[in-house]
Symmetry: C2
């Protein structure tokens, strides 16, 4: 008989859930507002309600639940601590809370959202053909994950793969983390938008000015991507600038890990080859000669679904999914 | 009955060998010139002769042989490919050659010299108290190794942990690898010496000028260390400059690995706290806030012996020693 797992994507704005079959993938998907402003008790109750709803609606028995959450997760994969965008949370053992609230006998496994997305990519997405790859997610922040021999590499405490905080210029501008020249300070959504705003002064004819009706405060990376697609030189230059920085940081990561495939996901990655081609061009210059063969930068194509698939996969793989 | 392993350190200048007991450590040690200029056949014959000599002299049965070698080693840990400082070598299966030449039934395991040093540190040296640590070796080049949960992290092909090639300034000067701003371009012995030579123009009163009898071509990091110990301001500034760069690069590595203990070995590390204190000071500024606790930079104190111990340990641990 076919069995199913439930994947939950706990975000600051939305709670998403999917019923996933090991081989068939997503069979049902639901989205509800997180209502994070009403505090952790409320959110946990909403997650419990959602899980209950998904179990009832599943076409067969549910053997486990996986949750992708922002913020640091403990080594045992039960507890979230002070997740960004979820006000009022301290340390919450989501696994115990859900199991006791719902009287569940099945495992509930919690994992960092970037790791969950990478697991989804590894089993269903762009990473499927590779037993090891580095995932980098370009969004509000720049997140990362390492899949090593089909498992999540978690480091000493579960906090590994913070590629966004690696420096490529020790005297560079500070990112939100306080790290000078950290890659998030180039590719994070607000940093990239700020940089573009400053640079667009030099491109008075850019169509970006029209796309934001002359109000550069409305600029975001999506608009750069739209303009680049339409052939706008300024937008292409700006995305290429960002892509070059991405290539530099990925070079450092590859030197350290000897993992030569990179999967790029997250909202900003929608800009695709406008960012990725310059990254591909810069990459070998920042990798030592002996590791320069077979370098690959791929775009994740599954979108948000990759996180739900990964969260569910967490429950399917259980504790085998980490190294 | 007690059993022993033999550790070999294959260097460009010297061949070293030790008989090692699992708990007692080194029980016998020997050094011979490598005679690398006479080509690979000759060197392999010399290694075989040395192994034979060590087996005969061991106080009990020898259960395995481990070899630390420069250059890339294949995943199976048998074969060295084009090691630097060993002219004329292409790909040589040292494991098969030694086993067939000597008619050995015991395993012969070959591993990269930086990984071997880290394994030695993990079981006998500064890394002993830590199940995971990053090792960085400061010598002619800057090498690295990752010990993760008591095993060597080898990456996809066995080439992981090339910390020396990570960039900290994407527009910086080129290191030998061609990577701009790579840490080896600051801390590698010749780069550090060149930098010191240039900077010493600004320190006409430095005792370094006396220590090299006015000939700055004779400058090397050991002389900087001597001068720093004697209170020379210029030498201290120069080593602090190098230490700061080390801290920047280690911050990037820690962000990626979430391994927060670093062991520093190699010749240049003799400069000890003159380099390591500035590195310790810079380090947290280059680590994201969530990973900043329990950061440690330790100096390896075992010296060259650490490589022999690590090589032997390779044979004691066998295939368990890698992840």
């Amino acid at each position: 008989m076919s069995s199913y797992a439930i994947g939950i994507d706990l975000g600051g704005t939305n709670l998403k859930a999917a019923v996933v079959h090991k081989t068939d993938g997503v069979v049902e998907i639901t989205k509800r507002p997180t209502e994070a402003d009403q505090g952790p008790e409320h959110v946990v109750a909403r997650i419990a309600d959602l899980v209950d709803h998904m179990i009832e609606g599943a076409p067969g028995p549910v053997t486990g639940i996986g949750i992708g959450s922002p913020g640091p997760i403990n080594w045992e994969r039960t507890t979230v601590t002070r997740p960004p965008n979820l006000p009022g949370w301290d340390s919450i053992n989501l696994s115990d809370k859900l199991r006791s609230t719902l009287g569940l006998e099945i495992p509930v496994i919690v994992e960092n959202d970037a790791n969950v997305a990478a697991l989804g990519s590894a089993f269903y997405g762009a990473g499927k053909a590779y037993d090891s790859f580095i995932m980098i997610t370009l969004g509000t922040g720049v997140g990362g994950a390492i899949i090593y021999r089909n498992q999540i590499f978690r480091g000493s405490t579960g906090g590994a793969a913070e590629i966004g905080h690696m420096t490529i210029d020790y005297e560079g501008a500070f990112a939100n983390s306080g790290v000078a020249g950290a890659i998030e300070g180039y590719l994070g959504q607000s940093f990239l938008s700020d940089h573009a705003r400053d640079r667009l002064v030099n491109y008075p004819d850019s169509t970006v000015h029209d796309l934001v009706d002359g109000d550069l405060d409305r600029l975001d990376p999506r608009i750069l991507y739209e303009a680049a697609k339409d052939g706008d030189e300024a937008a292409r230059d700006l995305l290429a600038w960002a892509g070059h920085k991405l290539g530099c940081a990925l070079g450092s990561a590859i030197n350290l890990l000897d993992i030569r495939t990179v999967v790029v996901g997250g909202g900003v990655s929608a800009a695709g080859d406008f960012i990725l081609d310059p990254a591909r061009e810069a990459l070998p210059d920042f990798v030592m000669p002996g590791l320069r063969s077979d370098l690959k930068i791929l775009q994740e194509v599954l979108g948000n679904e990759v996180s739900l698939l990964g969260a569910a996969r967490l429950a399917i793989e259980g504790r085998e999914a980490q190294v």
